[in-house]
């Protein structure tokens, strides 16, 4: 790990790719260090919080990078390219109805948040998780990229391959729908 850090920590993601294409393990280690946990988190949140499935998809994603590193177009952002591949992989998983049924281990509304003294806040968190869990693949992806990965509208547009205006419009209606779903908490004290 120390050797990886010394050699490649100053390289950009785009500079690491040709090295990985050439079979450099240290360059790959550096890229994995930067994106391994991040992509696992993305898959975990997208794919019904199933750890095994998320790990499988993470492995498959990095295998694609190893295989197709040479196809990466110079001048393009690696991050958005990487996420777009991950997004397409999630889309495929959602299409598999059997997989969706098999891996739906977390019931909608089940919270993984820590202990909260404020019961109302606990309820609110459960409701939020329930709301997110019920989103379809398209809306969930938009929600995660915007509010958890903190990506800009242009970046999301590139990843999802949707025009920016459409992204803004979808984001607006997403927030509106979620506000309606959480309207019961309007009068409840949800601030500590």
């Amino acid at each position: 790990m120390a050797i990886r850090s010394l050699l490649y920590q100053d390289h950009t993601d785009e500079e690491l790719l040709p090295l990985i294409a050439g079979g450099s393990s240290p360059a790959f280690d550096e890229l994995y260090h930067r994106y391994g946990q991040k992509m696992f988190s993305y898959f975990f949140r997208m794919l019904w919080k199933n750890k095994e499935l998320a790990e499988d998809q993470t492995q498959e994603l990095f295998l694609k990078i190893i295989r197709y590193a040479k196809r990466f177009e110079a001048g393009r952002s690696f991050s958005t390219w990487f996420y777009s591949i991950a997004h397409n992989m999630c889309k495929n998983e959602y299409r598999k109805e059997e997989t969706k049924m098999k891996y739906a281990r977390i019931k909608p509304g089940e919270s993984i948040a820590g202990n909260e003294k404020n019961l109302d806040l606990q309820k609110f968190k459960k409701a939020v998780n329930h709301c997110i869990g019920r989103l379809n693949e398209e809306k969930k992806s938009l929600f995660i990229l915007r509010f958890q990965e903190h990506m800009s509208i242009p970046e999301i547009s590139t990843i999802l391959n949707i025009p920016e205006g459409t992204i803004k419009s979808r984001l607006f209606y997403l927030l509106k729908d979620m506000k309606e779903e959480l309207s019961e908490f309007k009068t409840i004290h949800i601030y500590p």
């Binding site: 946990q37 998320a54 968190k125």
Partner: protein, 182 residues
């Protein structure tokens, strides 16, 4: 600025008139504003509520990198082997392209039926005549059939055949035979 950016970065009482105008289609009052604000905060917090990825994922990927490198080594070795084999075979083929007739005895011409033409140059042979009654006759003598001097060496084979052809051209049947042999 996007509506969600405004909600995340500001409190209700901090909003300007313009910002309230942007948000008016999304939120109608402070309570709705706070619902969305808190939702975004919880979404951000739960982003880190994710287990750690198993180290075996990285180990498995390392093995894949090694395998993909090995393929290149095998491919290079295969190309070298094919090139070497092709060179070796071509070289052997060239060596095997020897003179038209291989004749262990210089100057000897052998017909298909195994006999040799009468005018052909044959190696020196000793012919021993059968013994006769020694009391009345002279003792048996070795008779040597005069033969032509030893034929040319293998290096001069081509020129010697050329000279033979000039001698043989008078004999048409022999010529036909020689043509057939060659």
């Amino acid at each position: 600025m996007q509506p969600d950016d405004i909600i995340q970065q500001k409190e209700w009482h901090e909003l300007t008139t313009e910002e309230k105008k942007i948000l008016q289609t999304l939120v109608s009052d402070e309570q709705e504003f706070n619902i969305l604000k808190k939702m975004m905060m919880i979404a951000d917090e739960t982003a880190t509520d994710v287990p750690q990825v198993n180290p075996s994922v990285q180990q498995q990927l390392h093995r894949s990198i090694k395998k993909s490198n090995q393929k290149w080594y095998y491919a290079a070795a295969a190309i070298l082997l094919i090139t070497a084999s092709a060179w070796f075979l071509l070289r052997n083929e060239k060596d095997n392209r020897s003179p038209i007739v291989t004749n262990p005895q210089p100057g000897e011409i052998i017909k298909k039926d195994g006999s040799t033409p009468k005018d052909s140059i044959v190696p020196q042979k000793e012919i021993i005549l059968p013994k006769t009654d020694t009391t009345h006759t002279a003792p048996a003598q070795k008779t040597e059939i005069p033969v032509a001097p030893p034929g040319p060496s293998s290096e001069k084979l081509e020129t010697s055949y050329a000279s033979i052809s000039t001698l043989l051209k008078d004999d048409s049947s022999l010529m036909a035979f020689v043509t057939e042999v060659y």
